[in-house]
Amino acid sequence: MFVASGKDVSVNWSEFTLILPAVSIGNVGQLAVDLVVSSISPNGCHIGYFYDSCILPLVGNDAFTQSTESLGKLNVSVEVYKNDDLKFVVVQQRAPLVKGCQTEYCRKLVTWIKSCNFKQVILVSSISATERVDSQIGGSPLRYVVTPAAKNLLPLFDGLSWKTLEKRPKFPHATEESSNENRDLFLPGGGFTKKLYEACCRDDIPLAVLLTFCCEGDNISDAVNLFLYINDWLKMVPRTEVEAKVLGKASSFVFPASWCSMFGSPVHPDGNLF
């Protein structure tokens, strides 16, 4: 599954945190991971790829190089980056999975995670805002879920005033007061989030799922909010730099260059559409 781009890549990352996105509604997880990769550069380096039949193929020009003169390297479906200072391994997945392959992919991913011996895993995801219950409509759209092996993170998250994702009754007509055994996570539009969470619970992997409620559309603000949520915990960049960038002020924080063409080419000023 993992193919190293260099020769000397050790995969014993027992001190490292793995960050990866779920291909989920609005592609918010992927956009937030784009910001993580962008923020850990230039100390973050590309170390390899995922090559697997479960992932749809994709190629494109360098997503992060800012200058049009500096023609960067080719980007493919799934690439792996590492930052030794922050002890991060970041997986960026740019293409969806082949239909019907979620279970197979999660099984392979868990096997790889176990073989690398990561300290903890962070899955960055999103779920549909249209499926919220009344109690979820007000306040922050950001939520987290942890596996039993990552329960040690709960005091830290409580300190950050984070909210855990509310469970729902497993059966539609069950009362709200149903016991914890009869309640389950409901992750509409979350892609393989639930399957990976369940697989990590089974294999005792410390996983934290950080997610946001969102709808399809221009999801840049959702991605920035989710990135700031992760950043409050992991302290990758000063929060003020990100906020200055969002407000259009001078900032050292940069959005990935590939975001420029997210909605296609601009209309040519002298052109006539018809």
Binding site: S24, S53, C54, V59, V98, S128, H268
Partner: protein, 274 residues
Amino acid sequence: MAAAFGVWEIKFPSSRAVYDEDDEEDEEHSSEDDLRSLHFHRAPHLDQKPSPTECPLLVLAIGEVATTFVEAHFLSAGSEIVACITSKKTNEVDFEKLCSTYKSADTCCLHRLTTSQDDSVLCQCRTTVPQEKAFHWTEKLFENFKPSKVVILTSAPACEYHTNTPGNLKPDFVKVLKTDSWQEKISHRECSFWKLLTSSVESQHQFCQIHSMAAALFVCFTESSHVDSQSVEAFHFLLKHPPLRSLHQASSEQVTKVLKSLRSGKLLEMNMYM
């Protein structure tokens, strides 16, 4: 939307990032199914050749525009079919019969030029390989051929090319994306940000990047929905540059004959409604 009997049906929003999760449960399958449905057949007289066969250059033409270019400028001078990749088994049809219908969607033929002693291989795929089969199709190809260099030719609608300066582009332009191992400079034709949609092309180029093979992907962005000589000849500049310059090229009469056949085919279509 209104359903029968005047009852309003609730339509849940769909996501571009994820499939409907009920479908995902229903259609769970193994990628091995796709692998089993593809077969590589060598020409009977070449069946004894060691696998993988080494060749200096592999030219992959995907889609009508690229296959017509390869046919006009190289294959029309004289070629033989050396192998094919198909969903049909050999015991169902013999090799000759299989290749005589290679213009069908499920068979791609690999040719060798008979006009020279060159061992380069030219592959023609008139239609794109389905997304879920692209990975295994590429694996089959590179299991059997080990090229020193790969040139991939394809076409896409001009509206799919994303750039910040659309006014600078003239219709039927060619852009290139090259892997890290490709050393030659191809000036003024490098892509800005975009991604391809045809999976077989992406899959081949991705394979070359991950496995450190020298490969260049040339895409003709065309405004015409039909194959015409203008879009086919957009690739003409490649004939003057390595590595295609080293292949034996067809005479201008042979090229004209192939390109004229495009025109007569189009005229026949138009006459049907006169």
